[in-house]
Symmetry: C2
Subunit: 214 residues, 2 copies
DNA sequence: TCAAAACGATAACAAAAGATAAGAAATCAG
DNA sequence: CTGATTTCTTATCTTTTGTTATCGTTTTGA
């Protein structure tokens, strides 16, 4: 891995100079947050990393296809959605610095029930799951990364599900307001937020009204 | 591992003789379904396995405590529940042959928000998560088991959540009727099923009525 | 065995959510 | 700038759910 010291828009904040954050370094650093990753192991994935630019509305992965690639979002916002009775149901959003893609489909090898769509122009680091799976076999560090990633995802989904089972729609909205996911409310069209909360857009509008008056 | 050929209540079904299914073998075979586990690796956990009998109503793990043990149910049914406003909210059931226990708390090291309770007399194979975590460090097979376990759990929770977001309470009840989780309806008190579906017992009673008439 | 507790069905009412339609406000494309 | 589209609110009506309470029945435990 080449490491160069340059000024970049991020590095120059407050006049400091950082190690250059190339896409490769960003991904590596993100992964390094979970597990140490020696150079040799890193090279199992590094050669297969690419950068993709998605236009607004473009799909990163589509329903019915077996997942191939995962990604780390550098810039922009994405959503995933199910299709039911011809209607799209958005159940998750992805922001900068988040892993995204048809993880479950990659794991199971079954066609994805989810589609992944860019909500604006999105810049994303892409790597093939197949190579990750190979790395699981060849490197205990990658195997551990795989475990921690799954555990981390599990933790998130469990928390979300507890909210759906224990809280009313209004309570869920209030909790969203008070959470660090508040940015969902700021950047995302309301009918998608409604889907996320498991209610209709009209109902969300009413809830907002009720909550506002308190 | 000692393997003895004996007649046992399970082994004698249809007059055949199986390898004895000692608790240890049952656990090993269950784990072997996910990942091959050589004897040497197996011995990282085997010495720490115990059997526990839980009386009806007894807790296997309690809210507020950091998770220590996980288990595999040999016989009986368990539930896990949150406590909210002094009310218990049951959100999952465990049957024979299922892993159970405060998995998330074990992973995170945070106090569990969940309690695990025996719904009848329960026979359960218990092993300390601490030893499993040590095995992660020492054995790639165990590390892989950890990954697959987390992925498997993730898959289950994701499917459940999709149902909560996409289906109405009535649809969820009908889906439960038509699923292989139907046994939930047969063995479990109705107010707990209602919790599981994210509705009140009264509402479930009405839904049953509506659905019955169709 | 017997009293207490748990469980389930049902009724009545209030509160909330879904469906639909109409219209205001913001955004976007040409 | 303007017309079209998207987004959000509001209103009405219907359906569903929540809440509370009552009443048998079953289960439990002493």
């Amino acid at each position: 891995m080449r490491v160069s010291v340059v000024a970049n828009p991020i590095g120059l904040i407050f006049g400091e100079t950082f190690l250059m954050s190339s896409p490769e370094n960003i991904l590596r650093s993100k992964i390094g947050q979970l597990v140490p990753m020696p150079e040799e192991d890193w090279q199992l994935i590094a050669p297969f990393i690419t950068i993709r630019i998605l236009k607004k509305g473009e799909l990163f992965a589509a329903e019915g296809k077996v997942g191939k690639d995962l990604g780390l979002i550098l810039k922009g916002t994405m959503r995933h959605f199910y299709t039911k009775d011809g209607e799209e149901k958005t159940t998750y959003f992805y922001f900068e610095n988040a892993f995204t893609g048809p993880y479950l489909s990659c794991i199971t090898g079954q066609p994805s029930q989810l589609s992944f769509e860019a909500l604006c122009e999105v810049q994303i680091i892409v790597f093939p799951y197949r190579k990750l799976a190979e790395a699981f076999d060849r490197s205990k560090h990658w195997e551990r990364f795989g475990r921690l990633l799954a555990e981390w995802a599990l933790k998130g989904v469990e928390e979300r599900m507890a909210g759906l089972l224990m809280l009313s729609p209004e309570e869920r909205y209030i909790e969203l307001l008070n959470s660090n996911k508040r940015k969902i409310l700021e950047r995302i069209p309301q009918h998608l937020v409604a889907n996320y909360l498991g209610i209709t857009p009209v109902s969300l509008s009413r809830i907002r009204n009720r909550v506002m008056q308190k």
